[in-house]
Subunit: 163 residues, 2 copies
């Protein structure tokens, strides 16, 4: 199928991020289990719920465009999650592994910040106000999660210092 | 090799981003060739030179830690670049492809913003001032590149509207 204009590109990118979000929900369950710091565990669990809401919002955006919510496998998220898995299997001290898991989670957040940033710009440029509003809500949540992980990292990094 | 503390994690993450930067230099050459908007082509070429400088800075950071600059294959960047390649091969109108290539490039930038953000926080927390300074310079460049792509996107998105 040829991509003739920005609306085609928007749909293509929405399919990519729908796949990304679904991959993230699976990964977050494992990360919450593996985290040792209580607040980090809670942050991953909370973000899991948020991600489920973000998937629903994406489905509404497809609906607003009169399209079925299809996903298209996101290779980038597969790579990001494969790095996260490697960290979880690493022979590391718990507080160091927590610091590394935050790093992996922030890479995932930044993938989403970049993607939803693009989607918002495209939807606005196309005058698709309803779609833009839905995507902006998710973009704001992703930025908030990234900030929350920054605060948690500041505390956990102190515990992961060399003896 | 066990990861016992944050300094081990820092080295591990530096090896990851060294691999990422090397993969990016190859991809940027192809993206500059494929871009149709003249300013976008120039932006990719300029960022290619910048990336070469960022690799040198990373090598200096390894040196400051008395380690050889080894890279460790970055799966996430492989996934990000594979998405970029798919876009370049897509049957799309030139201005739409440009908009999609900017989206792919901003995902790469955000991977680096997240990674250098973590590296800076870790280096500062470890009191490694020289390393932190080198990594901060690169972080600032990545954020600047992302902003530049935002401005270019605003113009290119207008040209990629449906008829």
């Amino acid at each position: 199928m040829a991509i003739e204009n920005l609306q085609d590109a928007l749909l293509e990118e929405m399919r990519d991020v729908l796949s990304a979000e679904k991959q993230i929900t699976k990964a977050l369950k494992q990360m919450a289990k593996k985290a040792s710091h209580e607040q980090l565990k809670e942050a991953f669990e909370e973000h899991l719920k948020q991600t489920e809401g973000q998937i629903e919002r994406l489905e509404k955006a497809f609906e607003a465009l009169d399209r079925k919510p299809r996903s298209k496998h996101c290779d980038a998220m597969e790579g990001l999650i494969s790095e996260g898995k490697e960290i979880m299997e690493e022979d590391a001290e718990p507080e160091v592994r927590d610091a590394m898991m935050i790093a992996a989670a922030q890479k995932v957040e930044h993938y989403e910040i970049a993607t939803y940033g693009t989607l918002c710009a495209w939807a606005e440029s196309l005058g698709l106000d309803k779609v833009a509003k839905l995507l902006q809500e998710t973009l704001a949540e992703e930025k908030e999660t990234d900030e929350k992980l920054n605060s948690l990292a500041a505390e956990i990094n102190k515990q992961a210092q060399p003896a």
